[in-house]
């Protein structure tokens, strides 16, 4: 008797396949633009100095241990994490309108958000995702049996935001739908709405009483400034623009370089009026979800983040580290754009590279061009044309620019 007769082998994750091909490539000049993690100027992974210092402080402290956290997570972490995303002077925090639960980084937060909404939201349970979006978004919600739809986001012709399409979908979606917004550094396009565009979008979302989920995976990593990268969230909440419940899914994977430690949180703001008993009920339900999935969240990463956030010197170091990472990436964006538009006179407009922010650039390269980059030039990126700018450095940016120039010209030839 076979125990699992229906089971079939699935194709590997495309990103994983890319990594495997990259690793197997013997060419010494190969470049990995597929990775979703920061690299320093010599192409190496980087542990933030703030993190390394916090670890030494934590491990050396007298009361350090490996005990279970409470089901909600590490309270000193949760308190500070909420302040990082909402601001030190957040009215929602001072009015006690925020319910926080530690999560297994961003994915864990989104999953818990999905479970919670599925059980307790009674409105239009369709979740609208940007087109395109991070591949896992769709899976996270569909896995829970939730309906997923799209809103237009990226205009490939102009390589800019499709604001009209986005607004039209907000207006035409049934009242009380759920919209997932990338708080900053949109993945994969790297393109964010301007502050004025955010205002328009959030006002329309309010008019239609849509529930908003903010996915905040890159706060501080995009601009180097925590406040600036939280604009959309703080505008929606501080001014009580959004009156329906707001869910924030916060990850410290990128901005602390603690990808594998799985540190994150879900913050729920149920409304614009304080409601202590409702907060307690929501917290208890989040606890119930966590208890039957993982019992309690992992301790170490949250203690590191808490150590950083509760120590002014380490906090300052972290903010410096954010500038180190973001400014290196921004510098690479300019270098690549200047090479393409200037020296190489590559056909097309490349300003979108510098208009984009965060880890990624949606280059606009076609799957054919991406294929040729890999085959001829040993440069690896996903077929959508998404390039991880973190993979660029002073030693390879010229090679990459020349290679892009070559593949663009190669596929433009028949038209010339």
């Amino acid at each position: 008797m076979s125990y699992f007769p229906t089971i079939k082998e699935l194709p590997p994750d495309p990103l994983f396949g890319l990594k495997a091909r990259y690793n197997a490539d013997p060419r010494t000049e190969k470049v990995d633009l597929g990775i979703g993690a920061y690299r320093d100027n010599s192409g190496k992974p980087w542990i933030l100095p703030a993190v390394k210092q916090a670890e030494a402080k934590l491990i050396g402290s007298a009361d350090y241990n490996h005990e279970y956290l409470s089901i909600s997570g590490f309270e000193p972490f949760l308190k500070q994490a909420a302040k990082v995303i909402l601001g030190d002077n957040s009215k929602a925090l001072s009015e006690n309108r925020v319910v926080s639960q530690q999560s297994l980084s961003g994915t864990g937060a989104l999953h818990v958000a999905g479970v919670f909404l599925k059980e307790f939201y009674n409105g239009q349970k369709t979740i609208y995702l940007s087109k395109p979006t991070w591949a896992n978004h769709k899976q996270i919600f569909e896995n829970l049996g939730l309906e997923v739809a799209n809103y237009p986001y990226w205009n490939n012709d102009t390589k800019s935001l499709d604001l009209k399409g986005f607004l039209d979908t907000i207006k035409s979606a049934p009242t009380g739908s759920i919209f997932l917004l990338h708080a900053c550094a949109h993945n994969p396009t790297g393109l964010d709405p301007t502050q004025d565009e955010w205002k328009q979008l959030l006002h329309e979302l309010d008019i239609k009483k849509h529930v908003v989920i903010f996915d905040s995976a890159y706060q501080g990593f995009a601009s180097g400034n925590l406040e600036k990268d939280a604009f959309s969230i703080r505008y929606a909440i501080d001014q009580s623009i959004i009156k329906t419940p707001i869910v924030i899914c916060q990850s410290f994977a990128k901005n602390c370089g603690m990808y594998g430690e799985r540190v994150g949180a879900i913050h729920i703001i149920p409304g614009v009026e304080p409601n202590e008993s409702l907060n307690k009920a929501i917290k208890s339900q989040l606890n119930k979800i966590i208890r039957s999935e993982i019992s309690n969240p992992p301790a170490y990463g949250s203690k590191i983040v808490s150590t950083i956030l509760n120590d002014p010197t380490l906090r300052k170091q972290w903010e410096d580290d954010l500038v180190t990472m973001s400014s290196r990436i921004i510098k690479m964006r300019y270098k690549l754009r200047d090479l393409l538009s200037g020296e190489l006179q590559t056909p097309g407009n490349w300003d979108h590279i510098t208009n984009q922010t965060g880890m990624f650039s949606f280059t606009g390269l076609t799957p054919d061009m991406v294929g040729r980059l890999e085959k001829v030039h040993a440069i690896y990126l996903v077929s959508s044309g998404r390039a991880s700018v973190a993979g660029l450095n002073d030693n390879n940016v010229e090679k990459v620019a020349k290679a892009i120039d070559e593949v663009v010209r190669f596929y433009s030839k028949p038209k010339l």
């Binding site: 125990y3 542990i47 005990e67 864990g108 799985r262 008993s277 606890n287 039957s292 999935e293 019992s295």
Partner: protein
């Protein structure tokens, strides 16, 4: 007044909130708090200097304090010096960690040729998980997707979260008889008959050792009988091993049940089983959430399919597991650091203290009005006293002794300084 009355604890649970309804939202009732957590909270509030917490399932030393295993502490220092990145592992954890678990558990570090054969033939799929609960959850979701039966048989009693996890994953937990509370002993005949009365192909959950909460395990002969029933009824065996090493002090000895299963698989008598395992207790890595799920499969091809489905299942829930605890495990098992013998010594010392405390408690208990012999048969972190919930509540209210109402005492909360006080309190409560 240092008493925290039971009424205060339970009243929270009965308090339902009626106005928790937002526009378009279902009512959000207050979910009942976790029982053990509630006890810890009441304990913290109690001002009696003699208070004793027997609720938590984490080790305490003879001064009542949490410890970091010395080998773990050393591994952590080494890791700090070595670590150059904190990047994502693959969805199912690093290959290194998977291989450590496979070799340690199934090959029993070169002591189980059957397990080795299964590893060499590619018939074991291992994924790192969020400790024991996470592994139970992953296997429950997996069985719900791919297995023929939703019914899962769990011992009565069992760890409370077993039922919660399986229910939440869409399985249908049902009890089989295990322990007779009035006799303070295993009820083996009734265990067998209750298993035999269940439909074929049910999933059956078995505790590998140190049954939680009773501390009472099947003898090797009884294990054989249960394994025969499993074969006769085509049950799917799911083994939970949270306390490997806590029965004997030696993790290589506490693994007899796994070895029996491996032998049956190699002989073709059972095709597949699954094991949930964690390093929470035996390395004291509780909060780091370090565990694994392993599925023994029918063939290497089958393994590939199962592994790909595990990835698909985990990716939308949390993407990849937390690295700190698993990296500590990797350092401890790395031969160049010579930490494995040290860890085994640490574990033996922990279990040794638990056994000493157990004996001391037994010595101090009044055996004239109550038979306490079951205490000496039980193994692991707990004693299952057989006290009624009324007696447990009386201990809490009159003596500031905090334990769960099923009469389970976490014995690491006992030490030289409080064992006589505790024994006296129990003697007094039993008298009335």
């Amino acid at each position: 007044m240092y008493r925290t009355s039971l009424r205060q604890i339970t009243s929270k649970r009965q308090f339902s909130i009626l106005n928790n309804k937002l526009n378009k939202w279902n009512e959000i009732p207050l979910a009942p708090p976790d029982k053990i957590l509630g006890i810890s909270e009441a304990f913290v509030k109690d001002t009696n200097t003699k208070k004793i917490n027997l609720g938590v399932g984490a080790y305490r030393d003879n001064n009542g304090r949490p410890i970091i295993f010395p080998a773990v502490k050393e591994a952590e220092k080494i890791l700090y010096g070595l670590e150059t990145e904190k990047e994502y592992t693959p969805i199912i954890g690093s290959k290194k960690y998977q291989n450590i678990v496979k070799n340690f558990i199934f090959n029993n570090s070169n002591k189980d040729p059957n397990g080795k054969k299964l590893i060499d033939e590619g018939r074991i799929v291992t994924s790192q998980t969020i400790s024991g609960t996470g592994s139970l959850r992953v296997i429950a979701d997996f069985l719900n997707r791919f297995y023929s039966s939703k019914k899962i048989l769990v011992p009565k009693p069992t760890w409370a979260n077993h039922v919660a996890v399986f229910n939440d994953a869409g399985l249908q937990p049902e009890f089989y008889n295990y322990y007779d509370k009035s006799a303070n002993d295993l009820e083996f005949e009734s265990l067998k008959s209750s298993l035999l009365s269940q439909p074929k192909e049910s999933i059956v959950l078995l505790h590998a050792c140190c049954h939680n909460p009773t501390g009472l395990d099947l003898t090797p002969e009884q294990q054989d009988e249960v394994l025969q029933i499993i074969q006769d009824k085509s049950f799917y065996p799911l083994v939970d091993m949270a306390y490997q090493g806590f029965a004997s002090g030696d993790p290589y000895k506490d693994i007899g049940f796994i070895r029996k299963l491996n032998s049956l698989v190699v002989d073709g008598k059972i095709n597949s089983y699954a094991l949930c395992q964690s390093f929470a207790k035996n390395m004291g890595l509780y909060g780091e959430r370090t565990g694994s799920i392993s599925i023994i499969t029918e063939s290497a091809d089958h393994s590939k399919a199962i592994e790909s489905q595990l990835k698909k299942l985990i990716r939308p829930i949390y993407s990849s597991p937390p690295i700190h605890g698993s990296k500590i495990v990797e350092v401890i098992f790395d031969e160049q650091y010579q930490l494995l013998p040290k860890w085994l010594g640490d574990l033996d010392a922990v279990v040794g203290r638990l056994n000493t405390v157990r004996s001391k408690l037994y010595e101090n208990l009044d055996k004239s009005s109550y038979n306490w012999d079951h205490l000496l048969k039980q193994r692991g972190m707990f004693v299952y006293t057989g006290l009624t919930s009324e007696q447990v509540i009386k201990l809490r209210n009159d003596y500031s002794v905090y334990a769960t109402e099923d009469g389970r005492f976490s014995i690491s909360g006992i030490n030289d300084g409080n064992v006589e006080y505790l024994a006296n309190a129990i003697n007094e409560v039993i008298k009335k």
